[in-house]
Symmetry: C2
Subunit: 168 residues, 2 copies
């Protein structure tokens, strides 16, 4: 039996997108397990609420449209509330139902775009690196952004997990 | 100017190892910023202490030696305390100084092994997947383990960040 596989760009894209999708699924599962009351709580005393972190993760995923050159983002208004300002800024939040709807819309639209991309497109430059820097650091491509965003999402999911009741 | 880069296995490896290394560096920076008293605290009420999570992350990284077939692990004794049992199991922990020493030893030794690996070796099977499954799912290779471990480390670093004093 031949167990040698071609080391192809598509294999590598699959590795990264599988990891990204897994974090989205874990977030979905956590959101399904939490009541609105739990989601509104601080993740730890004096720390960000679950609602703020949900809005933050939605905004960061939404920003991928422009960063990766995939078109207009769906909810640019989230940045002022959930990225440029901290949790208790006094800014009005969308309702939890709206935030969950945005979260799903954004991830569905991203997944749709990702499905249509050719593997080689993932290794092109994204919009936050200069052409000069990209020549020197070609690993800082579009797919690399998905790796860093996946880790970022894991970071905040670790915090949001504290919204669940502790295991006795 | 030609901005086309070869999409090579070595480029993939660099993307993933850069992400892994960044999480280790962030952990190092957090450890340097925390006093022993802070590290011994719970990350949130009723949750894992910083000491437990440091031991947990050290154990999970140490397990990479066997999982990736890179030789014997340095501190197998960590698993019983920090992986197989929860924080308040009553088991005696190594001292914080010892844990920090192990953490550095493990990561230095892993980095040394990683540096000596050829890119293609990263796309081989690891020791927790059967040959049969690997034929069907070749994306579950050694490099993929580093992606999942990097996200796992980000998850717990998000929690350990709560050991720092909150921003007023």
């Amino acid at each position: 039996m031949n167990t040698n596989h071609e080391i192809s760009p598509s294999l590598f894209v699959k590795m990264v997108l599988t990891a990204w999708q897994l974090q989205n699924t874990r977030a979905d599962e956590l959101l399904a397990a939490l009541s609105d009351e739990q989601l509104m709580q601080e993740t730890a005393p004096g720390r960000n609420t679950g609602t703020y972190l949900l809005g933050h993760l939605a905004a960061i995923n939404d920003a991928l449209f422009k960063l990766l050159g995939l078109g207009e983002r769906l909810h640019p208004e989230l940045d002022e509330i959930f990225v440029d300002n901290p949790d208790k800024s006094g800014k009005a939040f969308p309702s939890i139902n709206e935030l969950k709807k945005y979260w799903n819309e954004i991830n569905t639209a991203l997944t749709d775009r990702f499905t249509k991309m050719q593997p080689a497109e993932w290794f092109e430059k994204h919009n936050s690196i200069s052409a000069e820097d990209f020549v020197k650091e070609p690993h800082r491509n579009r797919l690399n952004v998905i790796i860093t965003r996946t880790v970022h999402q894991g970071y905040h999911l670790g915090q949001m997990a504290y919204l669940k009741a502790p295991t006795p």
